[in-house]
Symmetry: C2
Subunit: 165 residues, 2 copies
């Protein structure tokens, strides 16, 4: 039986990013358009990335995971978003690309060599370990941090908004 790699990635990221987009809608409903745009600069602490970057990286972590597994080229994003509508468009374009990646390019890549390059060195993975040990925790890290920043700012959201779908 077991679980196919596609089901551990594409629909997981699609659900999470849809939830993130809905969280941004709740920020606008709570704080107004200008107020929600201002929240995008909130950080948990000065030397940590602000909300806008958490959303951008959530999108990229999903996109890059699926691109690395599938071999399908991902769109390039310039990280120029500065408003909620721009971020929602970024999420929407990421969702559309994720949905376009054929299942058969992802399934079966459990043993694929994937090497992440960091300033400090390289991190080699096999496909399944990369998804389970890096891509999933990394995606949820940025999603939860975005949630926490909105929650801390008083946006009326609960864990059901985070889990969603």
């Amino acid at each position: 039986m077991a679980v196919e790699l596609y089901d551990l990635t594409v629909p997981v990221f699609i659900r999470g990013l849809n939830n993130l987009s809905a969280l941004l809608d709740k920020a606008v409903a709570h704080a107004g358009e200008a107020g929600a745009d201002a929240l995008l600069q909130n950080r948990l602490i000065e030397d940590m990335n602000p909300l806008v970057k958490q959303v951008q990286v959530a999108c990229d972590s999903a996109k890059l995971c699926v691109a690395r597994l599938s071999g399908v080229d991902a769109p390039v994003n310039e990280d120029t978003e500065a408003t909620v509508p721009e971020l929602k468009a970024r999420i929407a374009s990421t969702l559309a690309w994720l949905a376009s990646v054929p299942r058969e390019t992802v399934d079966g890549q459990e043993g694929k060599d994937i090497v992440l390059k960091f300033p400090g060195g390289e991190w080699p993975f096999k496909g399944a370990a990369y998804v389970i040990g890096f891509a999933q925790p990394n995606f949820y890290f940025h999603l939860t941090t975005a949630y926490g920043l909105l929650r801390q700012a008083g946006v009326p959201i609960g864990k059901r908004d985070f889990i969603g779908g």
Copy 2:
């Protein structure tokens, strides 16, 4: 090929809880024993659970997921921890129990009926969808929120401490 349910749960939770325990060690190294104990009451906002509860729920979300899948009875915890050493002992006992659950009780439970009961109603799942759509995001939610609270308090940690292993 695909991925077995055990590999999506037990080692994922073991790695995450080991990382969480190490984050608490860094809190003690940064703030001292009494200082780190005081951090356990930190919250992102007044009506959200404090750090101590985030750690307790991270332990429980791992434990309950594996108990529901495997049918192995999980230990009961009273949530009385108030210090870092007590929380680390809670994590350690959860880790020991997780490691004791036989792989063959978890693998193959993709289609098992699992019903979560909430004050507002019931949430029915099949085993695989429960792991992917609830247990994993819920576990990472509490792990990331604990990380964020420590990071916000100035504990010198980075995402590598969160991803770990």
